[in-house]
Symmetry: none
Subunit: 151 residues, 2 copies
Amino acid sequence: MFRGVNPINLDGKGRLAIPARYRESINDHCDGKMVATIDTESKCLLLYPQPEWDVIQAKLDALPSFNKAARRIQRLLVGHATDLDMDAAGRVLVPAPLREYALLEKRIVLLGQGNKFEIWSEELWNETRDEYLLDVDSGAALPDEMQTLSL
Amino acid sequence: MFRGVNPINLDGKGRLAIPARYRESINDHCDGKMVATIDTESKCLLLYPQPEWDVIQAKLDALPSFNKAARRIQRLLVGHATDLDMDAAGRVLVPAPLREYALLEKRIVLLGQGNKFEIWSEELWNETRDEYLLDVDSGAALPDEMQTLSL
DNA sequence: CAAAATTACCCACTTTTACCCACTATTAAC
DNA sequence: GTTAATAGTGGGTAAAAGTGGGTAATTTTG
């Protein structure tokens, strides 16, 4: 279970150093094999341990090919999903097409989100986070599942 | 399980170099024997390992011959299906009629889609992808299978 | 059957990537 | 506070992959 915000620098080659505290867990869980894809709702990337992603892709692959919405999701998610291997220094190379999508340059944020990470450009993350905080005040409608949630 | 975006150049002879990371899997799975056909809903091609295609063609052949829609799909898909062999350098020659259908010139994109690849002209893929990203927000009707999907 | 076009196979060049090493900064220990 | 160890960062290099083209064999066409 991943959690926490981690400000990181991408190096000149587009490599992302996974913070050391996650590495053991990642090596145990998937031998350093990860899968990155795009988030379709925000300009950020999703980074899964490969076994976690394989479950999702199996579900996506099973969707009906002649349904337009299904096809669209398959093309976006599976189409952008790329295998990444951690190197000996605990780094993964983020492919150029994905970097472009999420507007990643030097300063990025790695966000632990349970079974996956999200990768944001630092600038975009800060803006998004601030918007979220404002929205909370406005008291936007919460789905039923959340009405009973106690923190 | 294929996945990922791969920008590739078709060479002057219409050959497509399969990215190295897929080659071992393709050789294991079908000894380099692939089948390409058209996608009937988008101007792109579908590229299957031969055993995967054989399953699909068997289903198509079993459709009722007197149903007009079935007949049409059979003619389009089976009619355009062409055997392709990977050469020693991991390349397949994309036949001219298929290249024309999908408007393939030099810059193309090979899109992993589970049991198959899609082959797009780079320009058309970028346009299509951008449209899809806009549509996601509009929340077009999703099939039931997708309502429960959690990423 | 001959000529032309196409295709398969091979080789050469260029670009990219994986792997390794070195340096710096930060944390932890004494 | 000083030292040691670990983590973060950057870059060089050898190997692999991508790319392009020549030539010979095969197929197609007139």
